[in-house]
Amino acid sequence: MTSLLIHLRRFSVYRGLTDLYARSPLARLLIVSVVPLLWILGTTAAPLAQMVLVSFYESFPVAEGETARWTLANYASFFERPLYLTAFLRSFVFATIVTFLTLLVVFPIAYYIAKVAPRGRRTRLLLLVIAPFWVSEIIRSFAWIVMLANRGAVNSFLSLIGIPGTPVELLYNNISLTIGVIYLTSLYMLLPLYAALEKIDDNVLEAAANLGAPAWRRFLRIVLPLSRDGVVAGCSLVFLLVIGLYAMPQLLGGPGNTLFATTIGQIFAKAGASWPQGSAFSIILTGTALAYVGLFVAIFQRRGRGRT
């Protein structure tokens, strides 16, 4: 390979190009930035810009030979039907609760792997917990259906040990959905938390213990502040994941508890005429979700800077 490249240097065109690349900072900048700029334009900027445009259209696609008519009706319709507004609020409340629950569930697990378990076993324990996350959302939803259905594993077990009143309705409500969603989100919480907790110096914890700080104080004054970055990153990731969930709420959630992402999806699954409305709702969801997370990150980071 190298000899081929050296051979190539005999050609003046090749030499000219590589020399130009090596000498001129402008040429280097142009060559290097072509791919990123095109990619951003073609996959993020243009689609989002078009979505914003479409959200103000009266109808889409615009009929042949006509110019698009502009309207705010798509945004107004969000406030007109309580159906949409409740789904929207439900999504935010649900995502906030699930994010908090995921943090509660995953923190001790990450702490155990990063700090308590024997050093040599940490990688293996981490892999053990990561392994199920290579399974798709749909398969994992199905696994929970098999667990929680009226004649599923849990009900079968409950009646086996003689609990009266079985089958208990476990599926198709907010609890089954929460159980399933935490199953989905814990990895996104685990990895940032683990990375943050692993960096905490054991000596600091030991010093605090030697100076008489009880476990809860060591946790509040050392572990929690030092893992703040991981907590903030994990919570942001999980929240954004949950707010965009589409499939699992339809498989595990109740019919009366539609989340906003599902609403948007259903609007789009209808004929093309409803795309402007779907676009407007998508922009409302994205804007508020990013602002919500941005606010959360800003509050926690500023507080951190103030203290240290």
């Binding site: 190298t2 490249l5 050296i6 190539l8 090596a22 900048l29 791919v35 990123p36 990619w39 951003i40 996959t43 993020t44 243009a46 689609p47 078009q50 979505m51 889409f60 696609p61 001790p108 702490y111 378990a117 324990l125 990561i130 392994a131 199920p132 290579w134 399974v135 798709s136 959302e137 749909i138 398969i139 994992r140 939803s141 199905f142 696994a143 259906i145 098999v146 004649r151 599923g152 594993a153 079968s156 199953y183 814990s186 476990a215 954004l240 965009g244 589409y246 499939a247 339809q250 992402a261 948007i264 999806g265 789009f268 779907g278 676009s279 998508s282 969801l285 994205t286 979700a289 990013l290």
Partner: protein
């Protein structure tokens, strides 16, 4: 004190049970000799596994998923690598802006990302279908490729590239002989990670797909109609395949990254 020492490991193993029990229960369901998904299981059979392997729709969906996974992964790595180079060369505000824009698709709600692409592909004259799905998956995967390559680039240092330049190597030789070998564990990891991401994706496939269904879309459609143990059987097969692949990738990448560090220094000597 004793109790507290047991509490954390206890919670950990409880969590492991929470992760694995549903999957094991589902795997067991695939062996139930009945047309319904229900417990308890009185008689066992392996017929569902045979039936599922002969199911044309399932096999076609798996094949489509595999094709899409490979295509989108090739695009993601081909785009992610130069993007990471570009990010590594910029600094200050430009760098922050570039990273933010590159990572944005990973932070958008997936439904929104998929829908914006769905509207956009019509504009650029692409039909819904296999190519659109592969494109959509690549959009979702590029941020991860960029992060993985950047992490590796940051730890690489410039010494070897500078030494090669002093010895007369041009930029192409440095790229081929030094930078790419150094990045190979990260690239390999990114490659396998993208394959898994694409294979698992539901939302983008759902909105960008035409009449052909990828495996998650097919499974979703069938789950909405009702379940039979055959679905558990095929889910179990896919679960074992993807988990095995993931574990293998993880091991392989970790070993490679150790070896490439040593082989790069010794390989330079042999040349």
């Amino acid at each position: 004190m004793r109790l507290r020492n047991l509490a954390l490991p206890g919670l950990f193993w409880l969590f492991v049970a929470y992760l694995f029990l549903p999957l094991l229960v589902m795997a067991a369901m695939g062996f139930r000799d009945s047309n319904f998904v229900a417990f308890p299981i009185h008689s066992w059979t392996t017929k569902w596994y045979g039936e599922v392997l002969l199911d044309r729709d399932v096999m076609e969906a798996l094949w489509l998923s595999a094709k899409v996974a490979v295509a989108s992964t090739v695009i993601s790595v081909a785009v992610g690598l130069p993007v990471a180079f570009a990010v590594a060369r910029t600094s200050g505000i430009a760098r922050g802006l570039l990273i933010a824009l590159i990572l944005l698709p990973a932070f958008l709600p997936v439904v929104v990302s998929a829908i914006s692409l769905r509207i956009f592909i019509g504009r650029i004259g692409l039909e819904t279908g296999t190519a659109a799905i592969a494109f959509g998956h690549a959009v979702g995967s590029v941020p991860f490729v960029v992060i993985m390559v950047l992490t590796r680039l940051n730890t690489m240092g410039r010494n070897m590239a500078d030494a090669a330049r002093n010895l007369g190597a041009d930029d192409v030789i440095i790229l081929v002989r030094i930078v790419l070998p150094c990045l190979s564990p990260a690239l390999l990891g990114a490659f396998m990670f993208c394959l898994l991401l694409s294979f698992e994706d539901f939302v983008r496939s759902f909105f960008l797909g035409g009449f052909e269904q990828t495996f998650p879309v097919l499974l979703f459609a069938r789950l909405r109609f009702g379940f039979d143990p055959g679905l558990a059987a095929i889910s179990t097969i896919v679960l074992i395949a993807t988990t095995g692949f993931g574990l293998y990738a993880e091991r392989f990448v970790r070993k490679r990254s150790l070896r490439s560090e040593t082989s790069l220094t010794s390989g330079a000597k042999n040349d």
